[in-house]
């Protein structure tokens, strides 16, 4: 066994934290897009992640499709799920108090998790030998291929979403609806369509995260629980509605969790994340990049 070098391990830990951070960010971006447009938090976000992972798994086990190939299919499917969720459920609680919205999506969470139990049972599933697998070494630091791809994916997706919202006409329309629904509709923007689009987009983002995750993570009905909670905290830490905020916060959480867990003790790794959140919002009540 090679001699153990503390600095080496510290660097390795920081890099792994960074990679996990990008994955958290990728999951969080979808959540913040939805919030940014309509001020609603999807509590079932983690379970959307779970559904996309099962999507990749089903395509793999029935048709042998590698997650890389099934990615567009699952993303399209989840876009549809998002739109459907908006049409059937969310549009009804659009003007309801925040609590009713929380519980509409909480009901969806319980429903999806129960359905996963019913259909796939509690078994742990995984995709064997996907194209993206294994790990490589760079300057003595080990990195797993699927994690690196997911990290790069996170950056690309965040960039794309940012570009879409800031630079395209549809993006401007989304912003207009987010700003003032009535005024936007006077300008001829169909807010219903925009809201559907936001839900589709947000769900598509989490689908990308889910499929990339399924390359190296096992799949079971409760897989979304902790990821969902982390995404919720990340989005708030970054500032609700801020795409770049979610990216930054996701990375901060990843590094804090892994590095903090290493230095202070793993039993406190989520405490560290939560304390960072509390410290930040006490100083900046709208998160790091939220609009005041």
């Amino acid at each position: 066994m090679a001699a153990v070098n503390t600095v080496e391990i510290l660097v390795q830990t920081a890099v792994s934290g960074l990679l996990w951070g990008f994955i958290f960010a990728l999951i969080s971006v979808g959540l913040t897009v939805i919030f940014g447009v309509m001020d609603i938090v999807n509590f079932a976000h983690g379970d959307f992640l779970m559904v996309s992972m099962y999507g990749a798994f089903v395509l793999y086990s029935f048709w042998g499709l590698d997650p890389l190939l099934s990615l567009p299919l699952v993303v399209a499917f989840m876009f549809g799920v998002g739109v459907l969720t908006y049409r059937l459920l969310i549009s009804r609680v659009l003007d309801a108090p925040m609590l009713a919205q929380i519980f509409a999506t909480f009901g969806l969470l319980v429903f999806l998790r129960g359905a996963a139990h019913l259909i796939f049972h509690a078994d742990y599933q995984s995709i064997k030998n996907p194209i993206l697998s294994g790990s490589f070494e760079l300057f003595g630091v080990t990195m797993s291929v699927p994690q690196v791809v997911a990290a790069v994916g996170a950056m690309v997706i965040t960039g794309l979403v940012y570009w879409f919202i800031m630079k395209t006409e549809t993006g401007w329309a989304l912003q207009a609806v987010a700003e003032d629904k009535e005024a936007a509709s006077l300008m001829g923007i169909d807010s219903e369509w925009m809201y559907s689009l936001a839900w589709g987009l947000g769900s598509a983002c989490v689908a990308i995260a889910g499929v990339l995750l399924s390359n190296f993570y096992y799949i079971f009905p409760e897989v979304g629980v902790m990821f969902g909670l982390i995404a919720y905290v990340a989005v708030a830490l970054g500032g609700f509605g801020s795409v770049t905020g979610a990216l930054v916060a996701g990375v901060i959480i990843g590094v804090a969790e892994v590095l903090g867990g290493f230095l202070i003790g793993p039993e406190y790794k989520y405490v560290i994340v939560f304390l960072i959140y509390l410290a930040v919002v006490v100083l900046r009540p709208k998160g790091l990049m939220g609009k005041a």
């Binding site: 390795q12 049972h121 742990y124 793993p266 790794k269």
Partner: protein, 431 residues
């Protein structure tokens, strides 16, 4: 509006009362008959929720045991196998009424309450999670209903002085001690010296208990603990944990994890090339059916304390017979959990049969008089006999298995071993 509330609450109370009366009527009918046609036994397991995979293994074990009792299997040398039903109760059939506690102590209590008072079960089985067993068995204790626990290993459970609580499985104190006896044996017979240990455990009830006992015995036997690692069981990743282990560089890792963490750890060990000489696992996640299915070769060569292994069939053919039946019905091999649930169920039903009635006190007496010899068990135990004080099975014993070639093979105690110990673990690339 208020009138409506009143009407609603009246309806609610009426509904509850009606349901309650319905429940009691039904039960009254059962008790009236001299020899009931079915004996209802309650079984409470985590059928949904985070532990559902294990819950399914457990319930399948119970199901098979009941099928063997209810049917006629003259060739099986197991209690109650030859005759259909319970002969001393006029051949009454056994019916299991299921409860689902979803891993929650409060729900476990509710389910025990429901099974005892609504379903009128004569005894209870369950609950796997020690915390749930703790609360559910209190309901049984209050109601004076026998509670047989086949698989919770928190030592405290049988130290509560309960009158109605029985446990067949050995507990964590015994298992932790086994690990160190194993290490001592290694030194004595194979010349393998282990000095440094890392103790890794999930930080809820079960894992912490295990960690506590391992630390206690490490001190007693004179081993150095270089890393004492409690970790949150619901985490998304274990990177920081594995990095700490790498930094501490122990010879042997003693680990207590549930199945999702066990899988996560093995993947992360491989990713970062962390390879101790051996991983000594406290069963649970490392012996769940999902573990090898998900990990394949990456899960090989770990050592786990076990209560059961398929290869014990070489010295006990009955194990193969039962496992074949299990496989036929559920499509996979038994494991330590299903075997213990299976055994616990048989022990309980055997006692009910010997009691010859559904009277709780009679069943309790019969349980106390239980003395099942080793050859009628599918376990590597010396038998089943309860301590009259604690009502813990005194004849339970643990074994240590190693995953070799996709199978859990017994490697210790040496006299029960069906395979040679592979030590140290081969590298991640040499598999």
């Amino acid at each position: 509006m208020l009138r409506r509330i009143l009407v609603l609450s009246l309806l609610f109370l009426l509904g509850i009362s009606l349901a309650a009366c319905g429940g009691t009527d039904q039960a009254g009918g059962d008790e009236g008959a001299g020899t009931p046609e079915t004996i209802k036994v309650g079984a409470i397991y985590p059928v949904t929720g985070a532990l559902a995979a294990t819950g399914t293994d457990l319930t399948n074990g119970v199901k098979l045991a009941v099928e063997i009792v209810n049917g006629e299997f003259p060739d099986l040398n197991l209690p109650l196998a030859a005759e259909a039903g319970l002969p001393n109760l006029g051949g009454a059939k056994v019916e299991i009424v299921w409860g689902d506690h979803q891993g929650s102590a409060e729900k476990g209590m509710s389910e025990a309450e429901r099974l005892i008072t609504q379903e009128k079960v004569v005894a209870l089985l369950g609950c796997y999670n020690s915390a749930v067993t703790a609360t559910a068995s209190q309901v049984a204790e209050r109601n004076g209903v026998p509670f047989l626990n086949p698989e919770s290993t928190s030592p405290t459970l049988t130290q509560r002085g309960f009158k109605w609580f029985f446990r067949t499985t050995p507990h964590d104190d015994t298992f932790a001690k086994n690990f160190f006896q194993f290490l001592e044996d290694l030194k004595a017979t194979k010349g393998i010296e282990v000095e440094s240990l890392a103790i890794v455990y999930e930080n809820t009830l079960w894992g912490s208990d295990v960690g506590k006992f391992e630390k206690k015995y490490a001190e007693e036997f004179g081993y150095k603990v270089v890393e004492d690692l409690a970790y949150p069981a619901k985490g998304t990743d274990v990177t920081s944990e594995v990095q700490r282990l790498k930094a501490a560089n122990p010879q042997v890792v003693m680990q207590a994890s549930y199945v999702s963490d066990a899988i996560l750890y093995m993947r992360t060990y491989k990713e970062f090339g962390f390879l101790p000489e051996a991983i000594l696992a406290m069963d649970a996640g490392f012996v769940a059916a999902e573990y090898l299915k998900t990990l394949g070769e990456d899960g090989y060569y770990i050592l786990s304390r076990e209560v059961w292994a398929l290869d014990l069939a070489e010295s006990k053919p009955i194990i193969a017979e039962v496992n074949d039946m299990f496989r036929e019905r559920f499509g996979y091999n038994m494991d330590g959990n299903s075997a213990r649930a299976f055994t616990g169920t048989l022990v309980l039903l055997d006692a009910i049969n010997r009691a010859g009635s559904t009277d709780p006190e009679a069943i309790r007496q019969a349980l106390l008089e239980t003395d099942i010899p080793a050859d009628q068990l599918i376990m590597p135990w010396e038998g089943v006999k309860f301590d009259p004080e604690t009502q813990q099975n005194t004849k339970g014993k643990g074994i240590i298995v190693q995953v070799q070639d996709g199978k859990y093979l017994t490697v210790w105690p040496w006299e029960l071993a069906s395979a040679d110990l592979i030590w140290p673990m081969p590298g991640w690339d040499e598999r």
